[in-house]
């Protein structure tokens, strides 16, 4: 197995190679669309199931809305349309027919042109708010707390596996409320759900914040986000929660009678996370040997590798290995016993390191004699010899420790990559030499924001929630500022 390109050598190449070699995903024959392979999909399933559980615990239900959005719906909310019209897949016909010049070929049947074009959903506000119109008459019909797991399509020009693909999988929550306050509360609650999920399940530290107007979701009054930091010092937006005000209710004429008998437009939120989180996962934890997975997300948490010569020895080792496997499975730990005799232990070690299996147990003839096993941690690459007795309890604790340590490592990395700067020169220097999050003063204008973006490619990732108030002077205009905002280059 050829080694991965190292991160230091070429970070971007390292990422692409890792995604493919670890069997997470690959490019398909369809421009910009990926195939999510079983190993990658198994990780996504764990993320999805955990998020789904948290959505349900916070009172949401799943539903499913059509993949197609008629062009006229798409036009209804102007900002939203503008934001997504430039990169969308458009269905114009509903039939193919044999090519008269070459009967083995198919051509679009010109007689099967749609009266109105359909857009493959890039996001579902339009189709969902068109539906909510008939669901909402009274304050008694509110709130509506719905989530959808779906595929969406955005015709991105430059694509990268998981990070930016023409089609991706995601969840999109779409809620309707009778008051502005309740909708804002929902927006903030879901941001909290995302942050907690990212940190305590994916072991990815995130900064919670609010986007500047220029970085808002098209159609939102306010966009909240969680921002993670990748090992190359670039930021990755890991989830967003939007307060949509009454924009979609007005666009789709969704009104209700309130408790006082007055008619008003409903208040909306939407919030989403996607398979992009797979990219965040990979780039937060992994190393030059391959994936590093927090135990919560590992399809295989423990692999047992026998070190043997000959069938007889294998049989003796297998007996012990299977007993360990049984005990661990009884504790709800997923375990693979790899007794394949075609590949050598060294090959297997490298393979499971590449795949990010958190714990490897090696078991040889001497271990049998000593009643021990060798336990290797994927995250920090340490090994130790452990007594066979109560190995299940040891592994159970170890997995918890690994989960914590992986998070702490990412937290430490981030702490060492948040830099306060007070001048534009320093800003550019830090950005160039170190990257990471840069906390700096901003004058609050789109002009300064844009100039910085054009000159450095750094954007304001967010204005952190509960931000410390501090008097300062903005980077370029020199105007007074009351707080620092977070800048970074980003994915």
């Amino acid at each position: 197995m050829a080694k991965l390109t190292s991160r230091a050598e070429d970070y971007s190449k390292w990422y692409n190679e890792l995604v493919v070699k670890a069997d997470l995903a690959e490019n398909s024959g369809v421009r910009g669309c990926m195939v999510i392979k079983p190993y990658g999909y198994a990780i996504w399933e764990k993320m999805r199931d955990e998020m789904d559980k948290r959505f349900k615990e916070t009172g949401h239900q799943n539903a499913y809305f059509p993949i197609f959005i008629p062009k006229s719906y798409f036009e209804a909310e102007e900002q939203n349309a503008e934001g997504f019209a430039k990169e969308c897949a458009v269905v114009t016909h509903y039939r193919l027919k044999s090519d008269p010049d070459n009967p083995k070929k198919l051509i679009v049947d010109p007689d099967a042109k749609l009266e109105e074009e359909l857009i493959v959903r890039p996001t579902s506000e339009a189709i969902i708010w068109n539906t909510y119109k008939s669901w909402i008459q009274s304050y008694r019909d509110l709130p509506i707390l719905i989530n959808q797991w779906a595929n969406v399509v955005r015709w991105e020009m430059r694509t990268r596996l998981f990070l930016r693909t023409a089609e991706f999988l995601w969840q999109e929550g779409h809620t309707a409320h009778s008051t502005k306050e309740e909708a804002i509360e929902e927006t903030e609650k879901m941001l909290e759900v995302y942050a907690d999920f990212a940190e305590n399940f994916m072991a990815i530290p995130v900064i919670k914040g609010i986007k500047t107007p220029s970085e808002r979701f098209a159609g939102a009054d306010e966009t909240y986000c969680i921002e993670a930091l990748m090992q190359d010092g670039k930021a990755l937006q890991a989830g967003t929660s939007h307060f949509l005000g009454q924009n979609f209710a007005k666009a789709f004429d969704v009104k209700f009678t309130n408790k006082e008998g007055k008619i008003e437009h409903a208040w909306a939120t939407s919030w989403g996370t996607s398979t992009r989180l797979m990219g965040a996962l990979i780039m937060t934890h992994s190393d030059d040997l391959g994936l590093v997975l927090p135990p919560t997300l590992a399809p295989i948490q423990v692999v047992i590798v026998p070190i043997f010569k000959g069938e007889e020895q294998l049989n003796q080792i297998s007996e012990v290995a299977r007993e360990i496997q049984r005990k661990l499975i009884a504790k709800g730990i997923s375990v693979k016993y790899d007794d394949d005799d075609q590949n050598k232990p060294g090959w297997k070690f490298a393979e499971y390191e590449l795949k990010g299996v958190p714990v490897r147990i090696a078991l040889g003839a001497r271990d049998l004699e000593n009643k021990t096993v060798e336990v290797a941690r994927r995250d920090n690459l340490t090994k130790s010899v452990q007594p066979l007795e109560n190995i299940d309890l040891y592994i159970e604790e170890l997995l918890k420790t690994i989960q914590k340590d992986i998070f702490q490592k990412a937290l430490d990395f981030r702490a060492s990559h948040i830099t306060k700067v007070d001048s534009y020169e320093e800003f550019k220097k830090v950005l160039e030499e170190k990257g990471g999050f840069i906390a700096a003063h901003w004058d609050g204008t789109a002009e300064e924001e844009e100039q910085i973006k054009n000159e450095t490619k750094a954007t304001i990732r967010c204005i952190p929630l509960n931000n410390a108030q501090e008097n300062g002077i903005s980077l370029i205009s020199g105007k007074p500022s009351k707080q620092r905002v977070i800048f970074a280059k980003s994915y």
Copy 2:
């Protein structure tokens, strides 16, 4: 709440009303596409999770392939292309732009025409086998046992909620094997998984069989199916499992080196079930009052309704009701306690009957005195008074009984609707007067099959597996036949 149209009055109308009134699904603004509402989606989730479990138990993994199929892939397998080209959504452009004549409107940007049109997948054999090409080199890469949960689009002209929609949700298994025997074994195994799921989870009796060549999946060498019988005497195909031979391997040039070092094409299967199963569920069990759900599929298995006058009485009842709820939840039973004071008990009874909640517990002041509850079964509409003591154990057993009884009822209905006929006159008479499955002799030709279809609208649903051999004479041609096949009108 207006009553449902009865089945006797207008079966089709009953179905449509029930789907909408029970909050399962509704038509969307997009032609032929439905919105699956939270209550309907919760039922589908239960079906999906149970099937997913069974697929994994039989060694399959999930993955995800692109929604788009380039036209050239689509052309590669001729039968398949022919079968699906006539009703597919075709993406021809990737951008909209402002209409110069009306800046508020969007038009398709003629400069953003795709070089090659993309088909929204009607089924994924083409894109998947194009992918498998690079995954399969040696017999060691086989078998590949993959399933995908996805949305697909078939541009059906006449649509009905769940039964036939332009977009629907489904799972599609796509496996690759090194031998014909192994692929056939897989095809049959998955049919067995479907049949077991239908009968033992959905309580829907099915006949397992093989399709005639004219009813085969486009691109299959053999199509196996499970056929269910609806209450109006029409059949519904509830799942199919296809042996695809080497058709797709040849179309996409998927070859491997076998154990003997020879190169051959891989063998394929595919198998699918869809949200159509929701239609089967509804039409197998439900009645004129609404849905009847087997407890396995009920989002709410038990509802507790207090019968009270005044707040004090409600408080007393609530105390007992909440204790029952706690006990039932501890047993893994989903329970709703409906203490809403806006609707009367009678309204609630009707509502939960409509929604198919299997068990209703009513609890009034007299019950408190007597330490009893009233238990009503949704399936057979019987009521009984039960002691409060050990009510959790009683309900637990009752849910099992209901599951069995619902299945038995459907089984009895089917038994009384399988008719053996020996003449075409009798065939037409039974079909007209009673419907159901008709077991009759067939001469094995597409001609006789088609004539019967044209004259009666009945098709051969399947040739049952392990069919009894019996000498007979075919319905029209009078040629000798060795076995009866199953005819019916179908959805």
